[in-house]
């Protein structure tokens, strides 16, 4: 005989899961008891939301394409997960969230710590289950992992009542395949649309590629770069797409959008053909997306048919996995290359529009520092940016080589960076993992310093301290007559003392020179580090 809880652990093992992030409570105790005997590593977080963010960071960096796994108890544990789940949903990150639930016989009676978590998460999950029989567990786990990691990736929630975990059944076999009638993601690009796309590319004079997170999620980066290089088509990325090409690549123009690079926006505006690859083009990326196709032809490649034509009018839709579509495009493109004139025009813009940000005496200039930081890290470094001005400074100035840039571009959840970096570091222990966050966002998840210290993870945290919710304050400067309502951070603690309290090495900098000296030492250490950079409060985002 085998209990439901043991089956849960065996399912995770069968999926090859090495690490889970979670926080226990009564209704998930049967599972935790069995996990105790397993080789799966459990990372005890300090708040459940962060368990989901850690699983997200882990999934994004592991390179296996497997979902990250987070675990919480029923009621408040489960509801604490929601923001993390919603973030993964908007960012299309594969996640399996497991929650304990009150006994099946008590469901719907509002007993202690009962929350309708599948109901609450409905808009933020790709799919969810409440398990009603212990026998169903293997099938449900198999399906959940399959759904989360195929098609357009996303979170799947499995809610498991306590009695289902406790009940014992005859034996355990993990299914080898899934059979879900209504779920058959189309991963092959349609041959006719590919042909039309090739014709449109060949006929274009000023094509650009806009790449999103989908290119990274499908693991097609090298092929994607080959395509750009062979055709000479300049590449712009969304925030989630940063890292599809090395930042210094001559064809890469940077991030588009309200907070993007002027040259990227200009190229998009002047283009006669836009090839959108795995991007949703939300309003931050293209301010008036519905107007985009008025001045150019749009080819949109996405694994999710619902994204095509949703925000931007599309002439040539291609539904499919970027991996397959890129192969097909490469096979058909022949010796097409953009005109020398277009290459030259774009290059001129790129050079003309570059400027060095002005410095403020007695402060760290964050944009120059982030730029400098890039060359001080090893080439496969992972930079995790939080949300706010700090995120924009990183997005536009971190020069990525072979590493990753992680942030939440879709949901923009403050507090993402520290937990996500923990997931990233556990997935890639040998790489440099650096967090850049604001003083506001740091305080949204600084409780996880305990997790970092407890696991002795050599994560380096750079706090850009401007004593402000800088990005909102900037918005108030532009749109609300400089009325700084609720954007000054009063009563903040001394972050160095916080670091001290967790036993984490730390330092403070008031100039770029000072910061660079500290970073030099910091990257050599195999311990965590917190660097507090004092930033001039009125430093602009771009």
């Amino acid at each position: 005989m085998i209990s439901g809880a043991e089956i849960m652990v065996k399912c995770l093992e069968a999926e090859g899961i090495k690490v889970v992030f979670g926080y226990p409570g009564a209704t998930i105790c049967p599972f935790y008891d069995k996990l105790y005997d397993s080789d799966i590593k459990h990372v005890l977080v300090r708040q459940e939301q962060n368990a989901a963010h850690m699983a997200s960071g882990y999934a994004r960096c592991s390179g296996s394409g497997k979902p990250g796994v987070c675990v919480a108890t029923s009621g408040p544990g489960a509801t604490n997960l929601i923001t993390g789940i919603a973030t993964a949903y908007t960012d299309s990150i594969p996640l399996v969230a497991i929650t304990g639930q009150v006994k099946s016989s008590l469901l719907g009676r509002d007993v202690f710590q009962e929350a309708d978590i599948t109901g609450a998460c409905e808009p933020f999950v790709k799919h969810s289950y409440i398990v009603k029989n212990t026998e169903e567990l293997p099938r449900v786990f198999k399906e959940a992992f399959y759904i989360a990691s195929t098609g357009r990736k996303g979170p799947v929630l499995i809610d498991i009542p306590m009695d289902i975990q406790e009940n014992e059944i005859e034996g355990f076999t993990y299914p080898e395949s899934v059979k879900i009638l209504g779920y058959k993601p189309n991963t092959k690009g349609h041959a006719i649309q590919i042909k039309r796309a090739i014709e449109a590319i060949k006929a274009s004079e000023r094509p650009v590629i806009v790449s999103g997170g989908g290119v990274l999620l499908s693991g097609v980066k090298p092929k994607f770069q080959t395509f750009a290089e062979r055709t000479g088509i300049p590449v712009i990325s969304t925030m989630m797409g940063i890292g599809v090409m090395p930042s210094e690549h001559e064809l890469y123009l940077g991030m588009l959008g309200t907070h993007g690079k002027p040259v990227a926006n200009r190229a998009l505006h002047e283009a006669d053909l836009v090839i959108v690859c795995g991007a949703r083009l939300g309003d931050r990326a293209v301010a008036k997306p519905h107007q985009m196709s008025e001045y150019n032809t749009v080819i949109h490649i996405d694994i999710d048919p619902a994204e095509i034509g949703k925000n931007v009018k599309t002439e040539i839709p291609i539904v499919g996995d970027m991996k397959n579509v890129m192969t097909m495009l490469l096979n058909e493109i022949g010796d097409y290359h953009v005109t020398r004139q277009w290459t030259e025009t774009v290059r001129t813009w790129k050079n003309d529009m570059f400027r060095v940000p002005p410095k403020f005496e007695g402060f760290v200039e964050p944009r120059s520092l982030v730029s400098k930081l890039s060359s001080m890290l090893r080439s496969k470094a992972i930079l995790v940016a939080d949300v706010g001005q700090n995120q924009i400074w990183c997005a536009n100035n971190f020069r990525i080589r072979e590493g990753r840039f992680l942030t939440t571009g879709g949901m923009g959840t403050m507090g993402y960076s520290i937990p996500a970096s923990i997931g990233a570091k556990l997935a890639r222990p040998s790489r440099d993992v650096v967090v850049v966050c604001g003083d506001g966002s740091f305080q949204m998840s600084m409780n996880e310093l305990a997790t970092i210290a407890g696991q002795n993870l050599a994560i380096k945290i750079i706090i850009m301290r401007n004593h402000r919710l800088g990005m909102v304050r900037e918005l108030q400067d532009f749109n609300y007559n400089c009325r700084h309502s609720a954007t000054v951070l009063e009563g903040d603690p001394d972050f160095l003392k916080i670091a001290e309290a967790y036993g984490i090495d730390h330092a403070e900098a008031d100039s770029n020179e000072e910061a660079e000296e500290i970073i030099k030492k910091m990257v050599k250490s195999d311990k965590p580090f917190i660097l507090v950079c004092n930033v001039y409060p009125d430093t602009p985002s771009i």
């Binding site: 409905e122 009638l181 209504g182 999710d304 048919p305 619902a306 034509g309």
Partner: protein
């Protein structure tokens, strides 16, 4: 523009709330919704009549297709399907008006299924247009209560919405 969608779904708990939630969340308006099991007891069929322009309908179809237990979504082509709705109407009926109301029901081929000293209840199964006509005709007598099932629809001829 009004359109009719036939949706085949796996017959499991929570499917209906997923679908109705999707409508409200994305700001799509439903005129009517009817659900029932198909020949295969594991599969239910939902018929939705809704309003919106081409963009809305297309988005809706795509979003519905993303719901995992949704097996198939088909937009029925105007004029190429038969639709029916069942309605029960309780009408005020003074004794002096009784024969008039019975006459109206007869003209429309509706059935009187119940009566009391001052009401009659009419049953009618027709397409939505004819159902609305009957309602209009009975309105002057004073309607006490209306119950409608919502529209169900099926393709004409041999075409079928199947797995």
């Amino acid at each position: 523009m009004q359109y009719t969608l036939s949706i085949l779904v796996e017959n499991q708990a929570g499917v209906l709330s997923k679908i109705s939630g999707l409508f409200s969340r994305r700001g799509f308006n439903i005129d009517s919704l009817a659900v029932g099991v198909t020949a295969d007891p594991k599969v239910s069929r939902i018929t939705i009549v809704a309003n919106g322009d081409e963009y809305v309908v297309e988005q809706l179809e795509k979003q519905l297709n993303k719901v995992i237990p949704v097996i198939k979504v088909k937009r029925l082509t105007d004029g190429e399907f038969i639709s029916r709705e069942l309605i029960l109407i309780k009408v005020h009926c003074a004794p002096s008006k009784r024969s008039e109301i019975i006459k109206t029901a007869e003209i429309m081929q509706a059935k009187i299924v119940d009566a009391s000293p001052d009401t009659v209840t009419v049953e009618y199964c027709e397409c939505t247009n004819r159902v609305n006509t009957l309602i209009d005709m009975l309105k002057p007598y004073g309607i006490r209560e209306i119950v409608r099932t919502g529209t169900v629809a099926i393709d004409r001829g041999t075409t079928a919405v199947s797995l």
